[in-house]
Symmetry: C2
Subunit: 322 residues, 2 copies
């Protein structure tokens, strides 16, 4: 089979690619070709694999050619992130809505009803003066995005649901939780500290936590997130029971629990490298986020949240030291 990963050179995309290449099959078929489309070239370990083909450049430019590719399966992970979309509305519309629509149109034109897993986000949920956000958002919580990013993700969820109902594609949408611990450097995302307060101390560097220790948030490790994307791909339409968008499993943790876990895994000295210094802008954004998420439908498919934040930290240490 021929599989496309958009955003295939990114953190989640490249890791998903490695997992698919290692397991060799997807939904019972052999992965013969893996096309990684991204703005940037994928890491060398991936391009060295004979099954991998890289497509570099803006997704929108590649979509016209995708009809002729006749992919069997697609993981559509490419996306402008929340902060970018909030700063530049048109960029977000182009990168997230127009590119997704062009991709879906190409998959429809191919005529083989390809299966596609779309990475949506917990950002579809938001507080609404009329309908307060529940502390724990469920699959059937009324979405009310408070960012352009969340709006664009929700619009794409609906387009995918309708195009699937019409038989053009076989779509499903996974609402990803905040993935932590991400390697690399802090970025401009308001959620960046959810990785930073673990990653920096483990590297012997001080980290600033911009919110109170009582802040609670739904998180998922990279490994569990990728496992969930694959299992959602492999689920039958019957198992999905009609609705196509679902919450991925989340470990709902407070910052305090994250830091307790850090101390348990790496010791008090490492934990002491985290300093609380409230940032009103970030704290204000985070206050609008769900405190946790439930995932009854994903759980029914056999998907599971991480067992503990200690496990998430150990996974990060293992990933970065091997």
């Amino acid at each position: 089979m021929k599989v496309l990963i958009t955003g295939g050179a990114g953190f989640i995309g490249a890791r998903l690619a490695r997992t698919l290449l290692a397991r060799e099959t997807l939904a019972g078929s052999r992965v013969e070709q893996l096309v990684l489309a991204d703005q940037f070239a994928p890491p060398d370990d991936l391009t060295r694999d004979k099954r991998v083909r890289a497509l570099t450049g803006p997704l929108l430019g590649h979509c016209a050619g995708f009809a002729a590719e006749r992919f069997d399966g697609v993981f559509h992970l490419a996306s402008a992130v929340s902060g970018e979309c909030e700063l530049d509305f048109d960029l977000g519309m182009r990168s997230n809505l127009d590119s997704t629509r062009a991709l879906l149109d190409a998959l429809r034109a191919a005529g083989n009803t390809p299966r596609i897993v779309f990475s949506s986000s917990v950002a579809v949920f938001g507080p609404d003066p009329g309908v307060p956000l529940p502390a724990i958002v469920a699959d059937d919580t009324l979405p009310a995005p408070q960012t352009s990013y969340g709006t664009q993700k929700l619009m794409c969820e609906q387009l995918i649901a309708d195009m699937t109902r019409k038989g053009f594609i076989d779509g499903r949408a996974a609402r990803l939780m905040t993935v932590t611990v991400r390697p690399g450097k802090p970025n401009a995302a308001a959620s960046s500290f959810f990785s930073g307060v673990i990653r920096e101390p483990l590297a012997g560097v001080e980290a600033i936590c911009p919110v109170d220790a009582s802040v609670s948030h739904p998180v998922s490790s990279p490994a569990r997130t990728i496992d969930a994307l694959i299992r959602l791909y492999e689920a039958s339409r019957e198992q999905l029971n009609g609705r196509l968008a679902l919450n991925l499993p989340a470990l709902n943790v407070t910052v305090q629990q994250m830091l307790d876990a850090l101390e348990a895994v790496a010791g008090a000295k490492v934990r002491a490298l985290v300093r609380f210094q409230r940032d009103e802008r970030i704290a204000g954004i985070v206050a609008n986020w769900p405190q946790g998420a439930s995932s009854a439908r994903a759980n029914a498919l056999g998907l599971k949240a991480d067992d503990s934040f200690e496990d998430i930290i150990r996974q990060y240490i293992e990933d970065t030291t091997r």
Copy 2:
């Protein structure tokens, strides 16, 4: 002020235009210019009014010029209907999503944050195997459209909410109920009989009712629908309390109640012109529709449903005989 009505030559649009011209003001300002954009020319009584300007042709072609028009207010009623969108997916995407986006982009480019009332639909709601449709859909019922039309309306609701949050426009979305009694001829819409079983007998013509008398449905008279659109336009952002999409008030009636009302208003002989002949295709579509709607948020703005179906029939008789 300068007001645009898209779909301004249609049944609701032309009636809204007449109402605005007669009341002379909108939200406290004088209506100096009323632009009616539609595929067809508006009725003569409208074009004779000096305040009216007609723009004929596809909406998408007009939008580029709208930035320079700097409308103060817009009623965006133009839409491909449910049946068309289901037969021709691309037509629906173009007419409902692309045209709305082009209109919103032009309003944003104008730079004066125009107010816009968008006609969404009760079709955003649908049965969902995971989350059964409640008999009465409320403002905060989870939308799950089962048609391309409903999907496109929902996507537009969300785009309008986000562009309003960004300060580009001042938007609000009204989920219209089935408007009855519509004048004219039966059309291909599955809901056509909700007008036909009243209109045809009143004209001395037999009408076929394709569903059981027990079928319940949310309806609204043309007059109440137009009153609601105007009141929603005139509501302040504070009154809307954050969320922008709301159900318009509905009279929830069964077909039996409609026919009892027909007999009460027009007599048993007229009522006897309705013959039940089940149409499985139409009955199947209607079975997926809400049995009724509530409208707490619209009610809080002072909007009201029709008092009775007798009133709705009397309104139709008055409209068509004067």
